[in-house]
Symmetry: C2
Subunit: 635 residues, 2 copies
């Protein structure tokens, strides 16, 4: 069983190129697939708000609901703004595409860098939160969080390398299971809270109300409220996913996508507001070892109840599914960037199963690293999260504003500079532009708030990472342009192509079957053959010379060059000699070096042999005008 | 500053081959150098005996002195037996050489394997014991033993890679410092013990005498005494070192070496018996955190006393020096074995500083591994130790018995089968033979006792390791013989050497400056040129064809072969095609493959490029009749 067989077993049989056809999704399944990320935010978004408010004292937790409403309003606005993009870019209008078309290269790279950071965090945060759903239910597993998170990433990576179909009905299950489970718990909670149907009322507040509010200054109070609001903005992550995947919908694609987006927003926000309301009224307090969602479900139905386990288990599943969306988005965006020469080209290579294997592996590696560094604590990661997505919202909608401007000029009969996209006349451009302008402005302001309030807690990492990524994109792009220039055939004359000089150098260690075979081959290339060998004494010289003279049919006419050397590293004198021939005797041409190389039967047997030929090969590779000819000798 | 410069700073400037002249040692310095290993055993040998006796109850510790005398007698016998070898092999007569000359290959390999295991353990045990000299004096450093031991190995390795001169006067210091320090302490101890000169008597027994003896059966009692004796045999390690290094002495070499050996034995055994006597009478009890030597010095002169620190510090130094002898012996013996084709040949390559660099690195790696596995606890390693050296004593002396037999037959006028060595007439061969016979017999019996008593505690590792090593030596030897056979030029006809077929294959991905340069070069090799490229669709085919036709001066007469392929891994179809040409069209000849390879400016830039040419190269290397011609293309 060789390596290739092992790969088959793990990854599966390769797919032919023609297999790349997307199965279209109906709205019910599309909702499940695309909504997993934003809906799964409910596992931590409320808790993130409460985690900041509690710094003001447990009494301040009463503010949770107000801030949740603020976040929900922001979501509604972003969704309406994005619907414009969806309707205008039926082929998929991610922030990178929209910014590239309408704002230019730099903004598009900023959007891409921002999104990439967020996709990585989607994986780290979702997996860590998924693991916490398990450790909240079974506290004895708490010590193994990092291991469990890394294991989950490994499994998701493996599934993606095999090629997960986004369309599978199986993917609908976690989303609806989570929505149904949480919804039932929330409804029971509300019924009990308002004392309807004569059921038992909810338990008392968990915290001491007398410890109400820590006295702080007005400025500090507003600052903490802003921080809490920023923390809640993690609920917005994943909303933009639909705009990339419009082609996955059944026709009419754009309309269906837009409707699904509205349904998704409604669903996600109902749960968010429900959870926030009940958490506040139950007087829950954030606790690292028991998530707020787990506390809430426990308080309403009891920790041993079937529904409690249902909520925890479906939370884990939907979070892993959300992590999976990172595995769809990151490799896809990387491949776009690679196609435009902003990332290494191998990121656009599809593997045996037609997935962007290297993008998947790269994402898994970075996400695992983050999980390790943050000890799988998603609450600690949240300050880094949502910044990227907010910046990409801002840029993408700013691009739309620009686009509507062009449409407007076209409507007025002016000549509109169209850039790369074709502009069609469209009714109502004016109000659409206003919607996008508002969206861009508000998300821009929120982005600034996010950066400011989360900066010390970790946002600085993202503030550094995004420009660093943009710089990387530019450097890579410059390199590829430079290479393309070097490989150009435009105006190329054949005489421009360097020729090989009429000399062959054959470095050997001894005269044996392998080196004789190489010398014999060298005769084919030139009549000027120099066999070079390093000797440390007269005895060695005579030994080689006597063997040399035994094979006149092979050696006649060739020169035997002895290099005297008093040290043991024979590579240096060989390289110096070759360099000298190359630079001084034939400065304009390429020089041929025939390397007789003994190839052992197996890598293990290779350990038993001096790797001189290998090392010589490696060092000669650095010269741009040396042709290395490897004449193998096996047994 | 490149890699080579860094190497210069760390290792130093290279020495020319001619620098390899040993500075001869006078007896005082020779004693210091060669005696460090056996003398340093005093740091743990007594403790090893007591560690077993204490299992019988603290009262049994009284037996320590008796067993120490037994060990000392064994040492005396081995020394007298070895002196015969020294006088007979003035060029150096290690067990491997003596066994090879007189007993044959298999016994010599067993001796070599046994010695190699022991040399590795010399390093691990000595370094660990040296670290314990420090941690006994400063208990707060006890948590860092493993780190300290690994650090010590690293420093000794570095010194050896730079090329330590065995002859340095500086090496005499630790040995004499240790001998002097321990001797003074022992003398003070004896004076106080016997109440001479009116000094204060030694403190009372540390243990409770009433807890005297655990009642055990007679058999168990004898068994434990044998175990304790075996444990004490670690005092014998390193005795054989002089027999390898006779050429380092001033003339008359053999005589001086023999005298030095006697002096060494006397010195080592005086200390051993002195320490054993006092440890017994002081009633010391082995304790992992405070070595017996440290306890003894502490009890006699007081833990804060200058002499106490002197003993501890010189103990550490002599143990590190003893570890250093492992770094002299292991690479030397490895190089002998490599020269005889029983170990990889690179073990006989001398590095820039004329030392066996790879042997040094190999030893350091294995010794470090053992230190890690045994948590730098030398007492736990001792059951593995001394077995190898005892087996090599047995074999080496058995070889001498055989040798004296030949000398005897020569004396009687019979024709003596001389084997590889020249036999001279020598007087007194009869009693010399008796000495060696007794030596061989006794060490043989002790070896069996060692294996039996230490088997469960760890000797089984050595019992497995030695045959495994012998098997390895044989396998390596067979491989080299096989290769030598394949490279033989005896009766070689030039027509036996495979020729290259009149066809050149040029795999390319696109037509650009780099691939055109390769095709142009290919024209030089043959008129039958096939440029092969994998295409996945009509568009790609047309693109390549149109560019192909733009350069008729390069492409005219060459065939352009398109391989249609529906998967993305383009290596497979290329290799299949090349394989097919090689096997079916030209089964008897070598086939030339010209690989145009883009060489990026730096390894970092290499990350940005598909490594297809590299991978193709690696896979083609496995074919024994494919000549790979690499035409580089730089920018």
């Amino acid at each position: 069983m060789n390596l290739s067989d092992i790969k088959r077993v793990i990854i599966g049989e390769p797919f032919p190129n023609s297999a790349e056809i997307h199965e279209r999704l109906d709205k019910v399944r599309a909702l499940a697939v695309f909504a997993s990320d934003p809906i799964s935010s409910n596992a931590y978004a409320t808790e993130a708000i409460m985690g900041i408010l509690v710094l003001l004292g447990s009494g301040a937790l009463q503010m949770t609901m107000t801030l949740a409403i603020g976040v929900a309003l922001l979501v509604v606005m972003v969704i309406f703004s994005y619907i414009q993009t969806i309707l205008h870019y039926p082929d998929g209008g991610g922030a990178y595409t929209v910014a590239k078309d309408n704002l230019g290269t730099l903004p598009s790279l900023i959007a891409a860098g921002a999104l990439l950071t967020d996709y990585v965090l989607t994986v780290s945060v979702s997996v860590s939160a998924g693991v916490r759903a398990v450790t909240s239910a079974f506290p004895e597993t708490n010590d193994y969080r990092v291991m469990m998170a890394l294991g989950a990433i490994a499994i998701i990576t493996w599934l993606n390398l095999r090629g997960v179909r986004e369309s599978g009905t199986i993917f609908a299950f976690p989303t609806y299971a989570f929505v149904a489970g949480v919804l039932v718990v929330v409804v029971i909670g509300l019924v009990r809270h308002f004392g309807l149907l004569g059921v038992a009322p909810l338990p008392e507040h968990g915290f001491e109300v007398e410890a109400a509010l820590t006295p702080v200054s007005q400025v500090m109070y507003i600052w903490l409220l802003l921080r809490a609001f920023s923390a809640g903005c993690t609920a917005l992550t994943g909303i933009e996913a639909i705009s990339n995947g419009i082609q996955a919908f059944k026709p009419p694609e754009s309309k269906n996508a837009a409707k699904t987006m509205v349904a998704m927003g409604f669903m996600a926000m109902s749960l968010f507001l429900g959870i926030s309301f009940l958490s506040t009224h139950l007087g829950l307090i954030p606790n690292e070892e028991n998530s707020v969602l787990s506390q809430m479900a426990g308080a309403i139905v009891g920790r041993g109840h079937f529904l409690y386990y249902w909520v925890q288990f479906s939370t884990m599943l939907i979070l892993f599914l959300a992590a999976n969306t990172g595995f769809q988005d990151f490799p896809r965006l990387s491949s776009f960037l690679a196609k435009d020469d902003f990332l290494p080209r191998w990121l656009q290579n599809r593997g045996d199963r037609l997935v962007y294997s290297w993008g998947i592996v790269l994402l898994a590696s970075i996400a695992s690293l983050i999980v390790i560094v943050f000890r799988a604590d998603e609450i600690a990661m949240l300050p880094l999260y949502a910044l990227g997505v907010m910046l990409s919202f801002t840029l993408s909608q700013a691009g739309m504003v620009r686009l509507w401007g062009k449409v407007g000029r076209l409507a007025k009969g002016e000549s509109a500079f169209t850039g790369v996209t074709t502009i069609h006349h469209e009714n109502g451009w004016w109000w659409k532009r206003a919607v996008n302008f508002t969206g861009s402005l508000v998300t821009g302001v929120v982005f600034v708030i996010l950066v400011a309030t989360k900066f010390i807690e970790g946002a600085w990492i993202i503030v550094l990472a995004i420009p660093a990524l943009v710089l990387l994109f530019h450097t890579i792009n410059r390199h590829y342009n430079h290479v393309a220039e070097g490989l150009r055939t435009h105006n190329l004359k054949v005489t421009d192509l360097q020729s090989a000089a009429d000399v062959v150098l054959v470095p050997i260690a001894d005269i044996h079957r392998g080196s004789l075979r190489a010398i014999k081959f060298a005769r084919r290339l030139s009549s000027n053959i120099r066999v070079i060998t390093v000797v440390t004494g007269e005895k060695q010289r005579e030994h080689i010379l006597s063997r040399w003279e035994r094979f006149p049919e092979v050696t006649a006419g060739a020169d035997l060059v002895f290099i005297e050397y008093v040290y043991r590293d024979i590579l240096d004198p060989l390289i110096s000699y070759i360099e000298q021939v190359n630079n001084e005797e034939y400065p304009d041409d390429m020089v041929m070096v025939v390397v007789p190389e003994f190839i052992p039967e197996s890598p293990v047997a290779g350990i038993l042999h001096n790797q001189t030929a290998r090392l010589l090969h490696l060092r000669l590779r650095q010269y741009e005008d040396i042709i290395i000819i490897q004449v193998p000798h096996h047994l």
